[in-house]
């Protein structure tokens, strides 16, 4: 088997209403580019990015989900294995913000108890179309004890910071464990994947 090129594997999940920019947020982070012409995500999509934190190579396995209600039975099955969940709304779309509490309930119901959550108010470059004040985002994040960033995939604001912060938060509570296989079941496997062996297996 190929040599492992990373120390830890973190599984992250992006959720939120359709059209808030989840795919663009992920594309900015994984490819450092912005593309307005994304077609809607059907079911689930997947990207990988390796980052370095505190001297450790961390492989982020990021799952991008479809936002529409119909896909919830399909996408909620991914919550269980996720170690971090980014919940995205669009600051120019009030409805996407109103639905945040619904998404948070979904996390409570389907994700691991110790999952790291983060709230993102995306499209913050579109100040002239803003309908959700930053303070409202901060307030709901405070109420739920989760971190909050306003982001823009287009203007590249806070995207990398958000992912790295989420990864750091997960790293902080990652126990040192025995080497684990990479093929961790995201849909039913729980908890945190431990240290990776650097040698061949």
């Amino acid at each position: 088997m190929a040599k492992k090129t990373y120390d830890l594997l973190f599984k992250l999940l992006l959720i939120g209403d359709s059209g808030v920019g989840k795919t663009c947020v992920l594309f900015r982070f994984s490819d450092d580019a912005f593309n307005t012409t994304f077609i809607s995500t059907i079911g689930i999509d997947f990207k990988i990015k390796t980052v370095e934190l505190q001297g450790k190579k961390i492989k982020l396995q990021i799952w991008d989900t479809a936002g529409q209600e119909r896909f919830h039975t399909i996408t909620t099955s991914y919550y269980r294995g996720a170690m971090g969940i980014m919940l995205v709304y669009d600051i120019t779309n009030a409805k996407s913000f109103e639905n945040i509490s619904k998404w948070l309930r979904n996390i409570d119901e389907h994700a691991n108890e110790d999952v790291e959550r983060m709230l993102l108010g995306n499209k913050c470059d579109m100040e002239d179309k803003r309908v959700v004040p930053k303070a409202k985002g901060e307030q709901i994040a405070r109420e739920h004890g989760i971190r909050f960033f306003e982001t823009s995939a287009k203007a590249n604001i806070n995207i990398e910071k958000a992912f790295l912060t989420l990864a750091e938060d997960i790293l902080r509570k990652t126990p040192v464990k025995e080497p684990n296989s990479e093929n961790v079941d995201i849909s039913s496997g729980g908890g945190v994947t431990g240290w990776k062996s650097k040698c061949c297996s």
Binding site: M1, A2, S18, G19, T36, T37, F38, I39, S40, I42, G43, I44, D45, F46, I48, K59, Q61, A66, Q68, E69, R70, F71, H72, T73, I74, S77, A94, M126, D128, K129, R130, V131, V132, P133, K136, K154, E182, N183, V184, D185, I186, S187, G189
Partner: protein, 396 residues
């Protein structure tokens, strides 16, 4: 004799032999002569086999029935809306925007708007790599665009709904600096989609109307993201038909063919059926059970790596592979699928073939490599895939 000749002969029979036509089309419908659109209409059970009936059929279905739908679902509500808006004092007595009664026309109107906005978001993103859907159609819907009509079109409805939502929300959040209407109407500043002048409409607007009518007529399923990707190739095929007599009716013909195709595919889009025998979960699992039967080693590898069928076959199956290949290749795959009587079973064979054709890479790859292969399928030669699928069918 060439396939083109044989297909043309098959189509020239007064009473078309469906079995013969299916066999011919299964191997790909020739691009020449514009016969694909015709074949699809027959294969999708829309045009009758007796071609002496075609002209009257297309006229009556296309012009009469579909136009009636347009009148009922778009024009009449549009006129009602315009009237309601004008005569406000009368409205408050019987029906008004805050009427909590579920039968309230306003209630229906607002619900429809949600669906319309979702459709709108998706159809604007249809095949973004191609110019076609952004271009104006040669046959804008006269019924809708008649300048004599002063009612709310779908285009205006989308604009106004977004505009109103913005104005209200601005006020609620205490921001008094409401941007000018002109500015607010520019809904997609980052996307730079061109708004066509009044009197013309882009192909995507036609697709939007088809999906809106479908959603209104099928409230149990309404609109699910991805349906746009199924209408897209059908409409493209019909709206590029070299025969202008057919091309003119592309909208109505697409609507009926899409409806017929969805009658077989719709269960995949219904959430409550997900775990039933006819739902998508069962179909996704059948891809793996077939793979287990045909290529045990590969099946075991995917199982071992915990690559679940849901990770990639959901999109493959619900969208009939339309997001996995370029449009001309999707159309070629659909020639075969439409020609197979049990087309959704054949689709499972195609998925299985796709897996087996990259078995060496999959057997060598780790979870990440394999997920990438499956989410971004590497083979673009669909002929190889279809040949393999046929082979699997013949051997079963």
């Amino acid at each position: 004799m060439s396939l083109l000749c044989r297909t043309q002969i098959a189509l020239s029979e007064e009473n078309i032999n469906l079995k013969t036509l299916r066999e011919l089309c299964f191997n790909g419908i020739p691009f020449e002569g514009g016969i694909r659109a015709l074949c699809w209409k027959i294969l999708l059970n829309y045009l009758p086999l007796d071609q002496t009936l075609w002209e009257s059929f297309s006229k009556s279905r296309g012009n009469r029935v579909y136009s009636q739908f347009l009148k009922e679902m778009i024009i009449q509500p549009g006129i009602a809306k315009a009237n309601l808006g004008l005569a406000r004092e009368d409205v408050t007595l019987e029906d008004h925007p805050l009427n909590p009664n579920p039968d309230s026309r306003w209630n229906t109107y607002f619900k429809d708007n949600e669906i319309l906005l979702q459709i709108d978001k998706d159809v604007r993103r249809l095949y973004p790599d191609m110019a076609f859907f952004q271009r104006p159609t040669e046959y804008p819907c006269q019924l809708i665009l008649d300048p004599q009509n002063d009612y709310e079109t779908l285009r205006r409805r989308v604009e106004q709904t977004t505009l109103k939502a913005q104005t209200v929300n601005r006020n609620r959040s205490g921001v008094t600096n409401v941007s000018s209407p002109g500015k607010a109407l520019n809904l997609y500043p980052s996307n730079e989609y061109e708004v066509l002048p009044n009197g013309s409409e882009a192909h995507w607007e036609v697709v939007e109307r088809i999906l809106f009518i479908y959603a209104k007529l099928n409230p149990g399923i309404a609109y699910v993201q991805g349906m746009n990707e199924i209408v897209g190739p059908i409409y493209y095929t019909f709206a590029t038909d070299p025969n202008s007599q057919w091309k003119e009716h592309a909208e109505a013909d697409t609507f009926f063919c899409f409806t017929n195709l969805m009658s077989e595919n719709r269960d995949n889009f219904i959430k409550s059926l997900d775990d039933s025998q006819c739902g998508i979960t069962y179909k996704m699992e059948s891809v793996y059970s077939m793979l287990k039967d045909k290529d045990l080693e590969l099946y075991l590898k995917l199982e071992e790596q915990n690559i679940k069928p849901q990770y990639f076959t959901f999109r493959w199956l619900t969208l009939l592979l339309s997001q996995e290949f370029l449009l001309p290749d999707v159309i070629r795959i659909w020639d075969t699928l439409f020609s197979d009587q049990d087309r959704f079973h054949f689709l499972i064979l195609v998925c299985c073939a796709m897996l087996m054709l990259i078995r060496d890479s999959l057997l060598a790859g780790d979870f990440t490599v394999n997920m990438r292969l499956l989410q971004d399928y590497p083979i673009s030669d669909v002929h190889t895939i279809l040949t393999k699928a046929k082979e699997l069918q013949d051997n079963s």
